[in-house]
């Protein structure tokens, strides 16, 4: 994380802590932002819908990475927390007729409090036991979503309106893109900055060894719960954005497999890395799409392939996770660093 390219020397602490440490990096980040803004005008609707899904996944994955990657607390309940955000926001807008722009932060806050409650076991148990406690959170929250049908309409689904601003309804992929990308950039910036603060460093101390962290004066309870709070806040925001994007939500959107998807994102992208969360989100959203392309191409040869599509997706998905864990345990982010390092010294690499 704190490796620097050859020839870059820091002489002050300020330089050392800077977000963008080289002019080269600043330039390319600028180019990337311009690209993000131009993208909706050159892309078709299919690409834009993927971009929206990626944007929402980035926020969710960042949230999980703050909890699991920064603070070292394993969570199998992230999908359920996203669901809490989605339902809160949907109910605030549809029942209480609040504006989306107010419902969004409220959904984040409410989810954060739910996250706090289910984070309490982390004060007593950790590692495997915590994973199982969050699994219980996932099952219980999902049960409530299905069975509190007077509120959530259960499995028949809750319709949600797209957000509006100054009379403009964000009801197309193209318009919604600007909302998603705004919040995704905001979430990324916050996460990146969090890493550099006292809180972020405390998270990492807790992750590396919580007893040692406590001995050097870090209040374990405070920081573990704070990690759950921030992470669930992200989940709530992602859930709210998701709800108003898909415009109908059912409990099936927030099952254990969603939690697993998000865990896979941070594993594949790189645990504890902001850039990795983004890579992971892109990878996990595009994987089923690429599989669908392959299945469509093969359907001429094997007509029954369509019936097995979701099973095939599972097989490839499971295998991807396993292979990444065995052969690329540090994720795509690590590979990206390697590629960068290689080209930096090319053609005289050693």
């Amino acid at each position: 994380m704190y490796r620097l390219p050859c020839g870059t020397f820091n002489t002050t602490y300020k330089q050392d802590m800077a977000l963008f440490r080289t002019k080269f990096l600043k330039f390319w980040v600028g180019v990337f932002f311009v690209f993000l803004l131009v993208f909706p005008f050159i892309a078709n609707y299919y690409m834009l819908s993927l971009a929206n899904l990626i944007g929402i996944a980035v926020i969710g994955a960042l949230g999980l990475n703050i909890l699991t990657g920064f603070a070292g607390q394993i969570s199998l309940g992230h999908g359920a927390f996203i669901g809490v955000g989605a339902y809160t926001s949907a109910l605030l807008v549809m029942r209480l007729h609040l504006s989306f722009w107010l419902a969004l932060p409220l959904a984040g806050l409410f989810t954060a409090f739910v996250g706090l409650i289910f984070g309490i076991p982390s004060l007593r148990v950790k590692g495997l036991y915590l994973a199982i406690a969050t699994l219980a959170a996932q099952v219980i929250i999902n049960f409530v979503m299905i069975h509190w049908s007077s509120l959530t309409k259960g499995t028949s689904g809750l319709p949600v309106n797209p957000p509006t601003l100054f009379g403009i309804s964000f009801d197309t992929d193209k318009k919604y893109y600007f909302i998603t990308i705004f919040f995704a950039v905001l979430a990324t910036t916050f996460a990146k900055n969090l890493q550099r603060t006292r809180v972020g460093r405390a998270f990492m101390a807790v992750r590396d060894n919580d007893l040692a962290a406590e001995i050097i004066g870090i209040n374990l309870y405070k920081y573990k719960l704070l990690a759950f709070f921030v992470s669930s806040f992200y989940a709530g925001i992602a859930g709210s954005l998701w709800a108003h994007y898909v415009t109908i939500i059912t409990p099936e959107h927030f099952t254990l497999s969603v939690s697993v998807d998000y865990l896979a994102m941070i594993i594949i992208g790189g645990v504890g890395s902001v850039l990795g969360s983004i890579f992971g989100a892109i990878f996990m959203v595009l994987l089923p799409e690429i599989l669908r392309l392959i299945a469509d191409a093969l359907s001429g040869v094997y007509p029954s392939i369509g019936n097995f599509f979701s099973a095939m997706r599972d097989v490839v998905f499971g295998l991807t996770i396993i292979l990444f864990l065995i052969y690329e345990p540090d994720g795509l982010n690590h590979r990206w660093q390697m590629i960068k390092a290689y080209w930096k010294l090319w053609p005289f690499s050693y």
């Binding site: 699991t68 394993i74 309490i120 076991p121 007593r124 148990v125 590692g127 495997l128 036991y129 994973a131 199982i132 406690a133 699994l135 219980a136 959170a137 099952v139 219980i140 049960f143 299905i146 069975h147 049908s149 060894n209 007893l211 040692a212 001995i215 254990l256 497999s257 697993v260 865990l263 896979a264 594993i267 645990v271 097995f308 979701s310 099973a311 095939m312 997706r313 599972d314 097989v315 490839v316 998905f317 499971g318 295998l319 991807t320 996770i321 396993i322 864990l325 065995i326 345990p329």
Partner: protein
Amino acid sequence: MQYFIQLIVTGLVLGSVYAMVALGFVLIYKSSSVINFAQGELVLIGAYMALWLTVSLHIPFLLSFIITLIFAVFLGFAIEKLFLRPMIGEPILSVIMLTIGLSVFLRGLVIILWGTETRVFPQIFSETPIKIGFVRISQVYLWSLILSVIFLVIFTLFFKYTDIGIAMRATADDQTAALSMGISVKKVFAMAWAVAAVVAAVGGVLLGNINGINISVANFGLRVFPVVILGGLDSIPGAIVGGFTIGIIENLASGYLDPYFGGGVREVAAFVVLVIILMIKPYGLFGLERIERV
């Protein structure tokens, strides 16, 4: 009252299957500190394998049951060798994620091979229920209970008296000490997975005989978590006690509360118990409390 006892008895049957599956789970955790999220898929594969042999290949049930068990041994070996061996020494998150990946992979494979519709075993036990006192119990239930008790006894004896069983307990107790006594820890890990796959297969066949099987049997793997947490993750007697307890609790909760919630209480009741246990006694009834040092 009769309803209550009926619920208890069926709870015991369910609990005996839980105990079987939990046994495999605890065994893997105890010897290699790996938490196996794919236990439910092992149950699924065992059930489908036996079904396929009996129905499609017309092999007598008993023979196909034995072939399934042999297949499960090799499946366990293969999983350990291919997927778990490279993960030795990796952080907990990676190992958890690996078994989750494994479960997704195996589930997809089962769907491709055998489809998703519910299938039932051909009638093996007679349908007339047996009356014990005033409780009516169907023969399938009775036989499941008897079979699982037999298997539980066999495994308890296996751990107590055979060389491999003792080696496995030694490894579970202290890997380094076991290594220095000449025990091959690699072999023990492989054996743990083989035994886990076997008990899962037995559980799967029993479940298949009771309710028929479809892909949702895999969720059974998740419902084993409350069992092992209640008993203690690293305790074999805990798995057995926990299995019966959770089986009965689930049945009672579902029998009395389902009308109020519109079904599905069975799945969630055990997890509510789990959260309570984690808050009060996180290492379970018989689990070893770990003391940490920096």
